[in-house]
């Protein structure tokens, strides 16, 4: 019963996970100690958009067309942002050192601003450290989008499945049956390819072992021509992503990384907007540029 449950577990429910870097030991909802995380090397990213298109293919994202795109209805869960070096003065850009590309996807924050504000609890924290979005539960108040500092949540402003030229026959045959096609009035966002991670997790579980890097790749990671994206289980010390985070001394639950503490330590790992303390699960590694040239 609720109250008994409440009293007996009071302290446990004030759990620190997932803000903490480790799974909560007495958290029964954790079959395996999984915390999905990502590392994106901005020096390797060439901004080619392959990840974005792969995301369209994997996650049944609708193509909204020019008019709706112009009204900010684009549904790209994974978008490539292009920034310029700025000289003094507004909008005075310099292309001398090329452009800076930033692949922006849901950061799967561990203290997600979007989660707390949803009136119906349609977006929650999963036991594997993701920021879930329950389409069936969503009533479309869009508070999560308003409160998302990265603006990586996308709302179905129209009923795309029934909209002309979004999936004209036979294009609907390409839709991925592993996940739903969202109707109007629902918020959606990057899920770290939940359909893939869940399969991997269950396989590992049935084989009674930890999830390995070889088990799962997100669609964006799989396609990335330069391998700029690393994805895996942060709790598994052997995983590439864990090693990268460790090498960059990046912590999940800090608003200031080691490289900010001491600029000379040669590190380049950081979280975007980390000073807002959403504790993102995506680590970016700074773009590097030659000084001799």
């Amino acid at each position: 019963m609720g109250v008994a449950n409440l009293l007996e577990n009071w302290s446990k429910f004030r759990h620190t996970h997932p803000v903490d870097d480790h799974g909560h030991e007495d958290w029964m909802a954790y079959p395996t100690d999984i915390k999905w995380a990502m590392a994106i090397d901005l020096d390797a990213c060439i901004g080619c958009n392959a990840c974005s298109v792969a995301c369209y293919a994997e996650n049944n994202l609708p193509v909204v067309g020019k008019d709706k795109y112009s009204h900010g209805a684009a549904m790209h869960w994974m978008r490539i942002e292009r920034y310029w070096d700025e000289n003094e003065g507004e909008g005075d850009f310099s292309a001398e050192q090329g452009a800076r590309f930033l692949p922006m996807l849901c950061q799967q924050c561990d203290a997600a601003p979007c989660e707390t504000v949803c009136p119906v609890g349609a977006t929650n924290h999963t036991e594997d450290g993701l920021n879930s979005q329950i389409y069936n539960r969503c009533i479309g108040s869009r508070y999560c989008l308003v409160n998302c500092p990265y603006k990586v949540r996308y709302f179905n402003w129209y009923d795309y499945p029934s909209t002309k030229d979004v999936w004209p026959s036979p294009m609907e045959q390409q839709l991925n049956p592993d996940l739903s096609v969202r109707g109007k009035g629902v918020m959606e966002k990057c899920t770290f390819c939940k359909q893939r991670t869940y399969t991997a997790r269950n396989d590992a579980k049935t084989q009674g072992r930890e999830v390995r890097d070889s088990d799962v790749m997100t669609a964006c990671q799989e396609s990335c021509p330069t391998g700029a994206i690393t994805f895996g289980n942060l709790f598994n010390a052997e995983s590439q992503v864990a090693m990268k985070w460790k090498a960059q001394q990046v912590k999940l639950d800090t608003d200031k990384q080691a490289k900010d503490e001491n600029p000379d330590n040669g590190l380049r790992g950081y979280h975007v907007l980390e000073w807002l303390r959403p504790y993102p699960s995506v680590m970016y590694m700074e773009r590097v540029r030659e000084t001799e040239i």
């Binding site: 909802a29 924050c109 609890g121 504790y279």
Partner: protein
């Protein structure tokens, strides 16, 4: 033996007050001023309570009870629902976060207060009720009514007192 109802209408509170005072001082056989007398007025007139004698009001007890009960129940309910669905936890937040629950508890507190108070009002004021046989529309307009309940024998005396104070009109009716 049967009781009789008398209703006398007056122009203003002064006259009504004198009548009441006299009735209370007078010792008429078969008529108890403390219980058998009701003042009907078109407006709320605190002085009435002074001359009609002490009559306690109990609504505030309902208020106290309602506010505290609904308030605390509200909190427990909210907290236990939260504790029940840890499957919908919020990253970085405790399952049962106190500040939001306090906000809600506050609202429950007021909700209970208001609802139960009004309930109390209906109970204490005996509403809804059928109107008494001697109801006069004049009362809701501009006249003060004094309704008394008395033994057969007492009516004449009462009528006398009413008339003495120039009652605009005296109605009489056999009680049930």
């Amino acid at each position: 033996m049967s009781k009789r109802y008398l209703l006398a209408l007056y122009n203003n509170f002064e006259e009504a007050e004198q009548v009441v005072r006299e009735l209370r001082t007078s010792s008429i056989q078969g008529f108890n001023a403390a219980d058998d007398m009701v003042i009907k007025s078109p407006i709320e007139h605190p002085e009435v309570e002074e001359f009609i004698g002490p009559k306690p009001v109990k609504v505030q007890w309902f208020t106290l009870f309602g506010a505290t009960l609904i308030g605390s129940l509200g909190f427990l309910w909210v907290a236990s629902t939260q504790a029940n669905f840890f499957s919908q936890m919020k990253g970085g937040k405790p399952i049962v976060p106190i500040p939001p629950d306090m906000v809600l508890t506050y609202e429950f507190f007021i909700l209970g207060g208001v609802y139960i108070t009004v309930l109390g009002f209906l109970v204490c004021a005996g509403l809804p009720a059928r109107r008494s046989p001697l109801y006069s529309a004049k009362v809701s307009e501009d006249q003060i009514g004094i309704m008394v309940k008395a033994e057969e024998g007492a009516t004449t005396a009462l009528k006398g007192i009413f008339a003495k104070h120039k009652a605009l009109e005296i109605q009489e009716e056999v009680g049930r």
